[in-house]
């Protein structure tokens, strides 16, 4: 993308032309840090901070374009051409893009400042900043991309970055295992995503997102293709945004340093999945209606099961991780309500980013002080760590949906839209989940900050580089909700982000009251159970249900036994089988049978003498089987295959001719 890019489908680019600079800044800073970081004072961290800070300022300028009711704009430049094919590199900026730019840069800035203190003295400090910059840049690229291929580049890069960051402390095997798990799980989602992109390109003949949206709006695309495309794209979102059944990677991603968790959970990576659904929303809306029902089912399921899991965790970061999964499901459920829920779902994405980043950074501050992730080794921290305590409390209240904090406005909007759109099941589950959310956050706050200190040493308040971002994020968590405070007729956010006409519901005090009462009830139960520390978690009284939660619904076991192990151990065996019986069978069936028979006789014979040796030998022979037979090392066998190839080609040709 060059500055002299041609404009613009919908209007003058104006200040939105800055958007691509926002994306390029962190990428530039990535290269600068990699190249020069080690030689600079401060390990190059300030390069990243300055870059993302400048990005934030520009993002705000871009956003200002929409405050006055600006139109969406597009800039693009040919990236390269293959024959008649065009690949473009461009930006598409509408209200959603602008909002996401602000969110990503804000959170990234806070995280980077915070890491100055948190990561001080880390062996790979410079590397950490480099990857964080790349991570931020990749997400920004996903946000501004005007075509699916460019989006895919950012999407994949984020996968690689998350892999690097989660495994940042790879010296411990557990951490590198988690990194691999994250990478592979999200890649499983990437397969349908790739096919989804192909379906859309095949259906519309272009990868350009506004053009795809236009073509769909024009009704040129068959509904069948759209349905397939929507389902496949949603597969990608399930993986990236950690929805059931691919949510398993997110809690393990806690293995990374805490600032990374904040970044992954709040503004990048997981947000990308929801953002994708929002960006490609017309595909979902115009597909067969059951697609959105399916999306709603996934959202509702994930919401509840993740919230239940969050109740029993001892690791404070895992509580927050499951809470992220659950909140993402809120957004997905919001989007599944169709055009009416579009603004609500994405508004929750927006507000959640701030308070979830706050909560993660707050938990990091606590972990920094007590050197443990476990809440059983915390307690009573409100006195030594007042700033952390108050900011964490604000974050928890926002997440629980206590008015007038940010979470209240967005969550309430989803819940009331669900009711209004007559999705009563979604509505019910969302309401129950809201109660559980308030409960587990109350539990976390009580276990961490109240009672007696149960850990080792004497915790102190963290330095200003850590508390500073906390205070800023806490402030934001208080105010951002008012961008769409329907109670006061403020609908700024829905002017920026809407689908179609974007009518919004009038504020309903009745529903708001139900939500608030629910949240308060959750907090009350939490207080009742956890006001006093008990060695044994009161929830254990749930018996088998607790075990079910403790084992994460046995999902990990199912994956391990059903998917991972067979891939690990059986893939080669399967290849062996097919080769042994199909390919080699043609050549050597008889000889093989005879040999096997004699071997069998031999084995039976020797069994009396020595069992163990033969079993082992048989096993090795079996595993190496197919490859040994097909790639036998005998050059004439190879020539036979070559000749068979010639014959097959000749047959193929004569069939065609």
């Amino acid at each position: 993308m060059v500055a002299a890019a041609e404009t613009a489908v919908n209007g003058e680019a104006g200040t939105t032309a800055l958007a691509w600079i926002v994306t390029v800044l962190p990428l530039v800073s990535f290269f600068l840090i990699v190249l020069f970081g080690k030689r600079l004072p401060g390990g190059g961290a300030w390069i990243g901070i300055v870059a993302v800070g400048a990005g934030l300022v520009m993002s705000l300028v871009v956003l200002s374009h929409f405050i006055g009711g600006g139109e969406a704009t597009e800039l693009s430049e040919d990236w390269f051409r293959v024959g008649d094919l065009r690949f473009e590199l461009g930006q598409y900026v509408d209200g959603l893009t602008a909002v996401m730019l602000v969110v990503v840069t804000t959170v990234s800035l806070c995280v980077q400042v915070y890491s100055l203190g948190y990561m001080r003295g880390d062996a790979r400090f410079t590397w950490f900043y480099a990857v964080i910059s790349l991570f931020t840049g990749s997400m920004l690229n996903v946000v501004i991309a005007n075509n699916l291929l460019q989006l895919l580049v950012g999407w994949e890069l984020m996968g690689v970055c998350s892999y690097l960051l989660i495994g940042h402390w790879w010296e411990e095997k557990e951490n590198s295992d988690s990194a691999i798990k994250a990478f592979i799980t999200t890649r499983i989602g990437d397969v349908p995503f790739l096919f989804g992109i192909f379906v859309l390109i095949v259906a519309t003949g272009t990868a350009n997102i506004p053009e795809i949206t236009g073509a769909i709006g024009g009704g040129a695309i068959s509904r069948g293709l759209l349905t397939a495309g929507a389902l496949l794209l949603f597969g990608g979102a399930i993986g990236k945004s950690a929805q059931f059944p691919l949510h398993v990677w997110l809690p393990d991603a806690m293995a990374g340093p805490t600032p990374v968790s904040a970044l992954i959970h709040a503004a990048t990576m997981v947000a990308a999945g929801v953002y994708l659904v929002g960006r490609m929303f017309s595909v979902f809306v115009n597909a067969d209606p059951w697609v959105l029902t399916f999306v709603a089912a996934i959202g509702a399921t994930t919401m509840l099961i993740a919230a239940l899991l969050a109740m029993i965790q001892d690791d404070i970061k895992r509580v927050l991780a499951y809470s992220t999964v659950s909140q993402l499901a809120y957004m997905v459920a919001g989007l599944s309500l169709g055009p009416a829920g579009y603004t609500a779902g994405l508004f929750h994405l927006f507000t959640h980013a701030f308070f979830k980043a706050l909560l993660f950074l707050g938990s990091g501050s606590v972990i920094h002080a007590v050197h443990s992730n476990n809440m059983s080794e915390m307690g009573g921290l409100r006195r030594p760590m007042p700033v952390t305590f108050w900011t964490f409390l604000i974050g928890s209240a926002a997440l629980s949906g206590i008015p007038p904090l940010a979470g209240f406005w967005s969550k309430d909007e989803i819940i009331s839209t669900a009711f209004h759109e007559q999705h009563y099941i979604v509505w019910g589950i969302a309401l129950v989940t809201a109660v559980i959310t308030a409960f587990y956050m109350a539990r976390a706050v009580l276990l961490t900050f109240f009672g007696e200190y149960r850990g080792h040493g004497h915790p102190h308040e963290s330095p200003a580089t850590i508390t500073g971002p906390l205070v800023v994020l806490a402030g934001l968590s208080v105010v951002v909700g008012f961008l769409n405070a329907t109670a006061f007729d403020v609908t700024l956010f829905s002017e920026w982000v809407h689908f179609g006409e974007g009518e919004h519901l009038p504020f309903n005090y009745g529903f708001a009251a139900i939500s608030v009462v629910g949240a308060l009830a959750g907090i009350a139960v939490g207080y009742r159970l956890y006001a006093r520390w008990r060695e044994r978690d009161p929830l254990r009284r749930l018996g088998p249900a607790y075990t079910l939660l403790e084992r994460k619904y046995f999902l990990d076991d199912v994956y391990l036994r059903g998917v991972v192990r067979p891939i690990q151990y059986r893939a080669s065996a399967a290849v062996n089988w097919s080769n042994r019986f199909i390919l080699d069978g043609i050549v050597h069936t008889f000889a093989w049978t005879a040999r096997q028979f004699s071997r069998l006789v031999e084995v039976v014979d020797r069994r009396v003498v020595d069992r163990g040796v033969n079993t082992a030998a048989g096993l090795t022979g079996f595993t190496g089987g197919i490859l040994r037979y097909i790639q036998s090392g005998n050059v004439q066998r190879y020539a036979v295959f070559l000749f068979v190839g010639v014959i097959l080609l000749a047959i193929g040709i004569s069939i065609r001719a």
Partner: protein, 102 residues
């Protein structure tokens, strides 16, 4: 003049004999000779086509000369490799040369 299809069948037969030799013979030198047989079968083909098509520039026949040259070079290298194998393994049975596999 021989009728063309007959020549074609002859050369195809010769080629097949060569293929059989390559696939069935265990002795490396005999395999080499079989490959030569295949090349020469093609030479017969080339000359016959050149004649049949009344090719004014005799491309087929000239090409046959090239092929003969290439075949000579190929035998030279092939024998050198066989000697190398014999020095290393003391055998020229190609089915005994199978250290590299799987």
């Amino acid at each position: 003049m021989i009728r063309l299809p007959l020549v074609l069948f002859f050369s195809a037969g010769l080629f097949s004999v060569g293929v059989y030799g390559v696939l069935a013979r265990r002795n490396a030198v005999l395999v080499l000779m079989s490959i030569e047989l295949m090349l020469n079968a093609v030479n017969v083909n080339l000359v016959a086509f050149s004649q049949l098509l009344r090719d004014t520039i005799l491309a087929g026949q000239v090409f046959a000369l090239f092929v003969i040259t290439v075949a000579a070079a190929e035998v030279g290298i092939g024998l050198a490799i066989v000697i190398l194998i014999y020095r290393n393994r003391e055998t020229i049975n190609i089915d005994e040369v199978n250290l590299l596999k799987w």
